[in-house]
């Protein structure tokens, strides 16, 4: 790594720092992200270009080890309000850092200051930040001072997000004074781009650069835009704000809702040169309204229908993906919403798809309701040209399959059925091995599903043929049938023998025989196996030169008397991104992969292939009577 590519970022755990560290690493810089000893990183530290380092601005010795010789220093470390620490960090600490930078001959020192240094009546933060600017100017190093206005963006940290959280929680936003003072908000991504450009810029050396949108907006306007509908603005006298700020300080609030400096900064006139960023870096800062509304524009907007067990699983996974926004939560049961909302899931609640569609915009629909409701919901969403994810099995009988196939005919659609096993590493590897040509032709296939779930007569929609479509074949069975279909395609002929043991309307056991060109697949399914507490799937493929077995956890290849075992965890992850695992016990990674591929894979499946498992399922019941 070139010396110029090394950067020390102090204050890496803050709102700006946590965004900046990722952006710098993505741009190829080796980032030493400094946090205080004993603290945990808030930023994405798994990137190989990001190194978490521990240091304290008040200890010059530790800084000498961390400042990269010939590299760049970006100082974001600040103490906003503590009487002692604001001096220790913002002044003395900064002095230590600039001295270390001088000693290490850094090529550039980027000091992130604030617009607050311009106000007449300064609080502790503004005073120490201004004093800090003088320290940088007189340090005998190459410097630039950036003075951003209020920085906004997504996340939990920073003043802006505090205001937003307060508005959402209390439905009130306090505004000090008349709220007419101007502020020049800057989007976090734009500020980071400016810092990125500044690293290589010579034009800005020895300059103080204003970073803010122009013209500004009044605090009142800004709060109204942030708060949104249904939130009241509460005007408070400046003196009361100062008093409250003092109380928070006196009581040593670790994370006060606002400080005296916030009150002073929002009630005095500040002029910000909006053209500076364009002049030095060719970046025009977005107007606040444009910038604010741009958030979420690039995200995948999702509506989730069905807030039961599977609804909770998928909404949780979707919440873990930063580029996804759940906009609508749909269920006929209103009481489920209060639970799911209190759990932390975002999105507005609707009692029907029609209501959600008329009031909100979304492109992706997750149908996570019981089987008998799927067909009508799929028809509506597909007619609206939405991308549709449906829990398995998608449809309950041949009539429904024919209706949906008619709707899909000739169209390229994004429709996915939740056959989670197909998103398992080991199943993908299974297909790869079968197609490798190393083992000759397939001679015979055996498949099985066993569980001890139904050992007496049970009630519920799953046991009513008209609602579920069938028993063990329709509920756990489709997973296994989907794998067989994934590996070998649709059989030419199906023979089936179904048996009721405890249920009145649906089969508890099934023996299926799938006829292919050169071989047969013999599949046995039962959810009434005594003593079988855990559901088990397995497939054995007898080939000319080997026998391959898979139970979902591992793949075993028996060839020439030798067994090669490939475990799921030894295989490369399917996605090259960090996957959220909702529960390793149920192979949570596969649920994530399934949702992610549905949302982000550009490849659309041919419409005739999508419902092939449903076609097999309906054919089984078409041809067979239940004993």
């Amino acid at each position: 790594m070139l010396k110029e590519k090394k950067i020390l970022v102090t204050g890496a755990n803050g709102f700006i720092g946590s965004h900046l560290v990722s952006i710098l690493a993505k741009s190829g810089y080796e980032v030493w992200a400094m946090i205080r000893p004993g603290k945990l990183p808030y930023f994405e530290y798994e990137n190989e270009l990001i190194k978490v380092v521990y240091g304290d601005l008040t200890e010059k010795k530790s800084l000498l080890k961390l400042v990269p010789s010939g590299g760049t220093v970006i100082n974001l470390a600040v103490n906003p309000s503590d009487k002692r620490l604001s001096v220790e960090v913002n002044i003395k600490g900064l002095k230590n850092l600039t001295e270390a930078a001088k000693e290490k001959k850094v090529r550039k020192f980027i000091q992130i200051s604030s617009q607050a240094v311009k106000i007449n009546k300064k609080g502790r933060y503004a005073k120490t930040k201004l004093e800090g600017e003088d320290i940088v100017k007189n340090a005998g190093i190459n410097w630039v001072i950036l003075r951003p206005s209020l920085v906004y963006g997504e996340g939990e940290k920073g003043l802006f997000n505090k205001i937003k959280a307060l508005a959402q929680k209390l439905k009130i936003v306090p505004v000090f004074g008349n709220g007419k003072s101007l502020v020049y908000p800057v989007k976090i991504e734009e500020l980071c781009q400016i810092i990125l450009k500044s690293i290589q810029s010579k034009k800005d050396l020895g300059k103080i650069v204003d970073v803010g949108s122009s013209p500004g907006v009044s605090y009142l306007e800004m709060y109204r835009m942030v708060a949104g509908e249904g939130v009241r603005i509460l005007h408070l006298p400046v003196i009361l704000g100062k008093l409250m700020g003092s109380i928070f300080e006196l009581l040593r609030f670790k994370n006060p809702p606002f400080s005296i400096d916030n009150v002073l900064g929002s009630t005095q006139k500040i002029g910000c040169d909006g053209k500076d960023s364009e002049k030095y870096y060719g970046i025009k800062i977005s107007q606040f309204k444009t910038g604010l509304t741009s958030y979420g524009n690039n995200k995948k907007k999702v509506a989730v229908i069905g807030l039961g067990k599977m609804g909770l699983v998928h909404t949780t996974i979707l919440s873990s993906i930063p580029d996804v926004k759940i906009v609508a939560l749909i269920d006929t049961n209103k009481s489920l919403y209060s639970t799911i909302k209190s759990y932390g899931i975002a999105g507005k609640f609707y009692t029907s798809y029609e209501e959600a569609r008329s009031k909100d915009k979304f492109d992706y629909v997750f149908i996570l309701t019981p089987t008998w409701t799927h067909a009508s919901l799929m028809k509506k969403a597909l007619t609206d040209e939405k991308a549709v994810f449906v829990e398995k099995p998608a449809l309950k009988n041949k009539i429904e399959v024919e209706e949906i196939n008619k709707l899909l005919k000739g169209k390229d659609v994004n429709l996915k059925i939740g056959y989670t096993l197909l998103s398992r590493r080991v199943i993908r590897k299974f297909k790869e091995e079968l197609g490798s040509g190393r083992y000759g032709k397939v001679i015979k296939v055996e498949g099985g599903f066993k569980h001890g779930e139904v050992l007496a007569k049970k009630n519920g929609w799953m046991f009513k043929k008209g609602m579920s479509g069938g028993g063990v074949i329709m509920n756990p069975g489709p997973h296994l049938i989907a794998v067989v279909n994934y590996l070998f395609g649709k059989p030419q002929k199906i023979r089936a023998n179904l048996k009721k043991l405890y249920s009145d309307e649906v089969e508890d056991e099934a023996k299926l025989l799938f006829d292919y060109d050169d071989f047969e697949a013999d599949i046995k399914l039962s959810w009434s196996v005594k003593g079988c507490d855990v559901a088990r799937y397995e497939i054995k493929v007898f080939m000319e030169k080997a026998t391959i077995f898979c139970d979902g956890n591992y793949l075993s290849i028996l060839k020439n008397g030798k067994e090669i075992r490939i475990d799921e965890e030894d295989l490369k992850p399917i996605l090259q991104i960090s996957c959220f695992d909702i529960n390793p016990g149920i192979y949570g990674e596969a649920f994530f992969v399934e949702d992610y591929e549905f949302l982000f894979n550009k490849k659309k499946e041919k419409s005739r292939d999508i419902l092939s498992v449903e076609e097999i399922l309906s054919e089984i019941y078409q041809e067979t009577a239940c004993e």
Partner: protein, 167 residues
């Protein structure tokens, strides 16, 4: 030190197959000794409104406290209280700090060692960077090992890592 996992998701799931959520809670409360019942009422009095509104975090908190009280005698010996990864990981995904804080509150109240079980090490680290966690906190990788970087940052923060275990 011995271990105890809360909430017992498998047992609750089995009970939910035959009972309503309310019945699961009532049955458990009725099984408590009088002293524990009073303790539970005292501890949850301020949360009544939220519980009636089906607040998820408060509901889980209540279940965890019932389980602690049900096993109080054993817990004197079993000092480690493990927060089940099935619930914790869901909290991490939706950034639900509240429930994690409730768990810390319970371990503090009953003088137990908090252990967070997770399959998502990096997400846990980021969550812990914004909550006040107790000094005796331990974390437990479940299902898969933490990355070397995750192990490093946890150790630097003085957080002990337990041996990988699946529940």
């Amino acid at each position: 030190m011995n271990k105890f996992v809360v909430p017992n998701t498998e047992k609750i799931a089995r009970e939910l197959a035959v009972n309503s959520q309310m019945m699961v809670v009532i049955k458990r409360v009725l099984g408590l000794p009088l002293g524990s019942k009073l303790e539970l009422v005292k501890s949850n009095f301020r949360y009544v409104f939220g519980l009636l509104n089906r607040d998820y975090s408060l509901g889980i908190r209540l279940l965890m406290e019932i389980e602690i009280l049900m096993n109080r005698a054993d817990l004197r010996k079993k000092q480690k209280l493990i927060f089940h990864n099935q619930i914790l990981d869901m909290c991490l995904a939706v950034k639900n700090k509240m429930l994690i804080n409730y768990f810390f509150g319970l371990t503090n109240k009953y003088n137990l060692t908090p252990v967070l079980a997770t399959a998502n090490g990096e997400m846990l680290v980021r969550m812990l960077s914004v909550v006040d966690y107790p000094d005796n906190l331990r974390v437990l990788p479940t299902g898969k090992e933490f990355s070397e970087k995750t192990k490093e940052v946890l150790k630097s923060a003085g957080i002990k890592i337990e041996k990988n275990e699946k529940f």
